[in-house]
């Protein structure tokens, strides 16, 4: 254990794993409670196009992916808000088209880029110090915005109509939330990969939901599960010699089923007609 922590790559992996586990867990609370899981999956797949674009242009793929994912998130939000198509249809369209664009862009590149597959399935042990600083910087931005708009994000998640009625800019706040989800996804894809990142957002929050009926407590529990999954999964993958991204996701799933088994929510479902 001690010798393991002596490696710089392992230190970076553990720090970025813990940070991203916490960040995904916090944003996941909103995603789970507002039912945005499919949007999360759509945005993460869209990041493939952004990453490919970054490689093609020779710039840091995280930056191009951030722009790409933000545009996709706003596109989904805009298309469904206009009421012309349903939200899941909008996700379905963007999901595939942005991924297709990524595949097309890879085809334009000379040769074969192994790095790209690190983004698809995660390569936490290959996290560079530049990656780590990007994670810290963008993560700090996301968490500060959540802290600043804590009551507003709670209200648009619980009762968006009420937010509008009391005079809060409900639609802008919804787009803000989508943007935070997009940024979180992009900085997380290095850890578990594009294919699995939505699990890192949804699963810890879903596990926390099983165990509490208090919003703040759900957030704290979600962070515990999220950090436990990334750090625990990373160490497990090292000892078992398994793929780190997949191990992290499977560990978080194990947490979820354990939480569900002990969930007090299963024992009391209040009846609509119960007397006062």
């Amino acid at each position: 254990m001690v010798e393991l922590l002596g490696y710089t790559f392992m230190q970076r992996a553990l720090i970025s794993g813990a940070l991203i586990g916490a960040l995904c867990a916090v944003i996941g609370v909103y995603v789970v409670l507002k039912g945005l899981s499919f949007i999360g999956a759509g945005i993460s797949h869209a990041s493939f196009g952004g990453v490919a674009l970054g490689f093609l242009l020779g710039v840091n793929p995280v930056l191009t992916a951030v722009v790409f994912c933000l545009l996709t998130a706003w596109g989904i939000g805009w298309a469904s808000r206009k009421g012309q198509i349903k939200e899941d249809t909008a996700v379905g369209i963007f999901f595939a088209s942005t991924m297709a664009l990524g595949i097309l862009l890879i085809g334009l590149m000379r040769g074969y880029n192994t790095d790209l597959f690190g983004y698809l399935f995660g390569s936490i042990l290959a996290v560079t110090s530049q990656d780590l600083w990007v994670t810290i910087g963008l993560g700090a931005v996301v968490l500060s915005v959540i802290g600043l708009f804590f009551k507003e994000l709670l209200l648009i998640t619980f009762d968006p109509e009420m937010a509008e009625i009391v005079g809060l800019p409900a639609e802008k706040l919804y787009f803000l939330l989508l943007s935070l989800i997009a940024i979180t996804i992009v900085i997380s894809i290095k850890v578990v990969g594009i294919v699995l990142v939505s699990a890192l957002i949804v699963t810890p929050a879903a596990a926390a939901y099983q165990l509490t009926e208090d919003f703040r407590r759900m957030m704290v529990l979600s962070v515990v599960f999220g950090v436990g999954s990334t750090v625990g999964g990373l160490l497990l993958s090292y000892w078992l010699n398994t793929a780190s991204g997949a191990t992290i996701v499977l560990l978080s799933t194990l947490f979820f089923f354990t939480a569900a088994a002990f969930s007090p929510r299963r024992w009391h479902r209040p009846l609509l007609n119960s007397p006062s």
């Binding site: 409670l33 600043l148 708009f149 009551k151 507003e152 709670l154 209200l155 619980f158 009762d159 109509e161 009420m162 937010a163 509008e164 009625i165 009391v166 005079g167 809060l168 800019p169 939901y209 509490t212 009926e213 208090d214 919003f215 407590r217 759900m218 929510r265 009391h268 209040p270 609509l272 007609n273 119960s274 007397p275 006062s276």
Partner: protein
């Protein structure tokens, strides 16, 4: 009653794409009124409330709330309290009753700012007023139907409104809790709050409110409860509805020419 109406709808037509939900509705609510808008499911009652709240814009006609178009309301928003239909939110959402009530103050508190002691005090007072102060720490999912309804009423009252709008406040609530809720509304009305309640429950509503308006896409009738007769019922629910009209409703007197839109 004289003076400028709090709510004024003139020839209002609201449509969802091709479907017309409200057609040529005229309604005027004076300060101090206690009005029930009744009508069958799908008659446009919720649409009417959402139009008054500015969530929907009419395709024709004018809407004025506190003298302004509802989507142009600014500081006036805090004069309105709204109690939505219970099913409009996720009842298993992990949030405590006290937090839900405090949400009523969020608009008044303003963006980014934290609730102050005065906001918490207002939330507590509102909970005391409706008799749920002891439930502040109770999760939403653990409230009974009647308690939940009072918590949502307290949320609206936390904003210290002059106008209270309620959408089907007694859905999923038993008879005793329904009656005590309407008694509470009558008390609030006596304290000077203007109330507009939307309901499909004609019988209970009629014995508490001052005036009833019937909506079935159009505003069918508008008047004092005792002047509203079986003609209105049949207009709303079809002729067979009169068979169910026992109790207070069946004893109402039918007066010709009650279809006036103005008081």
């Amino acid at each position: 009653m004289d003076g400028e109406p709090i709510i004024l709808l003139e020839h209002v037509t609201v449509a969802y794409q091709d479907l017309v939900a409200l057609e040529d509705v005229n309604l005027s609510v004076q300060p101090g009124a206690f009005l029930a808008v009744i009508g069958p499911n799908g008659a446009g009652k919720t649409t009417l409330l959402k139009t008054i709240l500015g969530l929907l814009r009419p395709i024709r006609g004018t809407v004025r709330v506190f003298g302004k178009a509802p989507w142009e309301l600014d500081g006036e928003r805090r004069r309105i309290g709204y109690v939505p239909q219970v099913m409009s939110v996720d009842l298993n959402f992990p949030v405590r009753a006290g937090e839900v009530v405090l949400m009523g103050r969020y608009g008044r508190i303003g963006l980014v700012r934290r609730p102050a002691a005065a906001d918490r005090q207002a939330a507590i007072l509102a909970m005391e007023r409706v008799g749920v102060a002891d439930l502040a720490d109770r999760p939403l999912a653990r409230l009974s139907g009647g308690q939940r309804q009072r918590v949502f009423l307290a949320r609206a009252l936390a904003n210290e409104p002059e106008l209270l709008l309620l959408d089907e406040p007694t859905t999923g609530v038993d008879v005793a809790a329904t009656e005590s809720l309407y008694e509470l509304l009558r008390d609030l009305h006596d304290e000077g709050i203007t109330i507009l309640v939307v309901s499909h429950d004609v019988g209970v509503v009629a014995s508490y409110v001052d005036a009833v308006a019937c909506v079935n896409r159009r505003l069918v009738a508008h008047g004092r409860p005792e002047t509203m007769g079986s003609e209105v019922l049949s207009c709303m629910y079809g002729p067979e509805a009169i068979l169910f009209g026992h109790g207070p409703v069946s004893h109402m007197v039918v007066t010709p020419g009650h279809g006036s839109d103005d008081e």
